[in-house]
Amino acid sequence: MNKETARMLFMEYLYDELEEDQKTELENFLDANPALKAELEELSNVRSMLSHLPVKDPAGQIVLVEPETNSWFNWWNNFIDSLILRSKIAKAGFALGMCLLLFISIASLTKMNVKMGSDGFHLSFGEPQTVQQGFTADQLEQLITQVKEDNARMVAQLVETAQEEQQKQFEETLINFADYVEQQRTSDLKLISTGLTNLDETYYDRFRQTDQVLGEIIQTVSRND
């Protein structure tokens, strides 16, 4: 063994992964090489110091997979499990239920009728025979005629009512229009009358002013003469 070979074994020696014979051989070699032994001791001290390094634990459960308790697959499995019958009574009950379901299905498809009368038990399939009930042809014709007459009478009455309503509305409209025209005419006449009065007053004022001015001019001319 030389120094390089010894150094190659340092790590396994430090972490106790060396075979027993190699360990003995290395220790013997180190006893003969104090410098190398000191080097190994220093590395061991580093390990000792590193062991003090603090560490923090995670705050809590970091990742969790939700159990699929409500999945369709689980629901189906539970359903199938629940269908598996455990006792003979349950099996017999299930068979009876299935027979009843089958009977009802067939009865529904074949439209089966069952009757219990005084004369006995009747079983039939298909549509039940219907009994003719209602009016005769004459009665039906009379009824139709009656309905037609009633309808014609109702329509005539409605038309008459509507015409009367329209006539009333038309008359009201004419009256309103006449009132409006009268009001408008009265208003226009008042406006014309007021306008004429104002014109008259204006004309009179101007006539007076003109007279006054002419008088002043005449007086001025007389003085100058």
């Binding site: 790590m11 560490v55 923090k56 995670p58 990742v63 997979v65």
Partner: protein
């Protein structure tokens, strides 16, 4: 059969149960492994947030990829590989910015300001510097130190996780411990500091 083998068998059984449709089996795997993965990531980044994120991502990835695990007896190595790859991805993503944002180093003390007589203060400061020294290691050495020193994995297991030869793993660990020794010496940290209780 040692406890490691028993744990492996239990993990393998849970993996098989999960593959058989038992969702709760994965929850059990999470409960068994989340502390280890969280500790691994915490030592990697010295950040609780990063550790929690890496742990979360690790199990999400494991959940989706568990069908691809060839040997169910190697679930441990497999999940460490996922976590390590995610740590590497995070380092690449965050880049150099990551190197200055470790919460363990926010209160990094100045060793010169501490009174030598105060053993408790020195010890606390030394604990912070311990993590700082670990973070200063090159990533390939750091991961080997963490896996060997704290996760207790064998050289064979580490080699398998990192997909490297065993001798490479041993060599990285040797250089990692040697580098740590130099760092501790330069910061005047020795093992007596940690003896103070």
């Amino acid at each position: 059969m040692d406890s490691g083998q028993a744990n492996n068998m239990e993990d393998a059984q849970l993996v098989q149960d999960f593959r058989g449709g038992d969702q709760q089996a994965f929850n059990k795997l999470v409960l068994r492994w989340q502390n280890r993965i969280h500790h691994f990531a915490y030592r990697y980044f010295a950040s609780s947030d990063d550790a929690a994120e890496i742990t979360q991502k690790t199990f999400i990835k494991a959940y989706h990829k568990l069908d691809t695990l060839n040997d169910v007896n190697k679930f441990g190595s497999w999940i460490y590989r996922i976590a390590n790859n995610l740590c590497l991805d995070e380092l690449k993503r965050a880049g150099r910015k990551k190197a200055t944002s470790y919460e363990a180093l926010k209160t990094a003390p100045q060793t010169k300001t501490a009174s030598p007589a105060d053993g408790a203060v020195l010890r606390n400061e030394a604990l912070v510097l311990l993590h700082k020294a670990l973070l200063q290691l090159p990533v390939d050495q750091r991961v080997v130190v963490i896996m060997k020193e704290y996760e207790g994995l064998t050289f064979r297991e580490i080699a398998e996780i990192l997909d490297e030869p065993i001798n490479t793993v041993k060599s990285r660990l040797y250089y990692g411990l040697s580098a740590l020794k130099k760092t501790f010496d330069s910061w005047n940290i020795n093992k007596e500091v940690f003896d103070y209780e």
